[in-house]
Symmetry: D2
Subunit: 161 residues, 4 copies
């Protein structure tokens, strides 16, 4: 299912290489010798998790159905205008962000507010409905950051002990 | 939007009067003089909240789209067989359950496991996809129970002070 | 830190062997060939996670401080009488339960309501403050159940593919 | 209990007037005619909620106990150095932030990362343990922002209808 998820993200305009630099900028201050390669690995590891795959497929399905006008009102209009009080996009993405611990929530919230890199573009692509997609990308990167922070500590502790 | 949500629930087979006795049985041990009328009021108050309305509309939309075969694979099959590891139905419904405080999570989990009254029927209606609906009903009742518990205490504290 | 956490739980009256049968009863309906050994392994794996260790240490610290009267009012009284609307015990334990996916929330809520085995005893030990401990045990078992459900599926999928 | 909570926050160095400008800066872009008075009202309304009061009292108690050396190891050291992977401070504060809907999670994460105004000062006060306090302030402001966003919409909808 992982390959289907990666393909689906790509079809909607998001590639792994778009998420790597966002994760790098987020974690670089805490891990000085961080490499782009490690960021890519962490994102790919996150996409291995079943619950993250389900979240991505569900969110993108809703975006696509809204784009095609295949949802009923008032849900259709809420999704089409990316109503800031909809809340379901955040609840899904936050769920991903915290699968690696609650520190994921801080990263998720920050990314969702600041919208670095491709996240901003997704939020403003004319003619497309990306109500869920931008939050999903924030959630994936936040989960990867949280996984990386925990993993980095584990390595350090092993080296010390 | 509240009336649309109540109508939508009814179209899918769930009426307020189906949820009232579940809430009553859940809260009766803690509130001896509880009435069915109070249970109905609490459920209606919960359905006033925008985020709860959005959750219900989104969950039911996914059920209906799965029923009509309008979702892509593998999501379609996951929803049609109500895969226990899907997780998105629970994350949405749990979000509702905790809008009135985290004690809602206990009630949500209990209802989702024991499936009293109509919740069990929804889970096993042949030919229907109710993957989200049964969890949504658990979430609504859990939220109403949590609201009632907090409200009941507030009243008691006012009487004492 | 894992050994410190296991010792701390034991000091407060909870051993791994007390949690194993609760997990077994919870998962047996879904995994017919489940063994007690697998249940023990899953609980031990859960106790490896840093965030779960932190939650346990924090919750037990608050129980002990309340027992010794070392918290200020009104917090002291709230913890001593295990006020059902306190909510912080549930929020901590629910956080553990969902580290392996949101299906953990259902198991957590069910256990917290039904209180099987040692969980009930903890809730009613005279002279002890176990406001957090009973929820922590529910959270550990719920996390182990969620981990087991995901792991079991992974094994089956590998055998099929 | 509200007055005790406000006094406790003040004893630890946080007054309502310190939180008002943070909320104002956060919401001003969305509500052009926002006033400081409305921000203050929203923060005070948030502090009326029982679960928010419990969270604040619990978090501050842990900070104070760590400051006085009254917690056991390894918890004492974790709290004293404000270990970024502790996670319990975020889980408590995030719980507050989402009591008014999941949009609170975005504001919480943003504030927790950017640490505007007094939040930064709290994080770096020498000799003090504010491991929970800075997150609690983020959670209070995030909850107040979420409450304000929902409330503002309700008013607009009533004016239109």
């Amino acid at each position: 299912m992982k390959q289907q998820v990666i393909k689906k993200l790509k079809d909607r305009g998001v590639e792994i290489k778009d998420m790597v630099p966002i994760l790098y900028d987020l974690q670089k201050p805490y891990i000085p010798d961080l490499t782009m390669k490690e960021c890519e690995e962490s994102i790919l590891a996150v996409l291995d998790k079943r619950e993250i795959q389900h979240t991505i497929l569900t969110g993108i399905a809703l975006d696509e159905l809204a784009e095609k006008g295949m949802l009923e009102e008032p849900l259709l209009s809420i999704l089409r205008k990316d109503d800031g009080l909809y809340g379901i996009d955040e609840i899904l993405a936050l769920g991903m962000g915290t699968l690696y611990g609650t520190i994921g929530s801080t990263n998720f919230g920050y990314l969702d507010k600041v919208k670095p890199g491709i996240i901003k573009n997704l939020d403003t692509t004319p003619g497309r409905v990306n109500t869920f997609l931008d939050d999903l990308v924030c959630g994936i990167v936040a989960a990867a950051a949280s996984r990386m922070a925990h993993h980095n500590r584990d390595v350090k502790e092993k080296e010390t002990n």
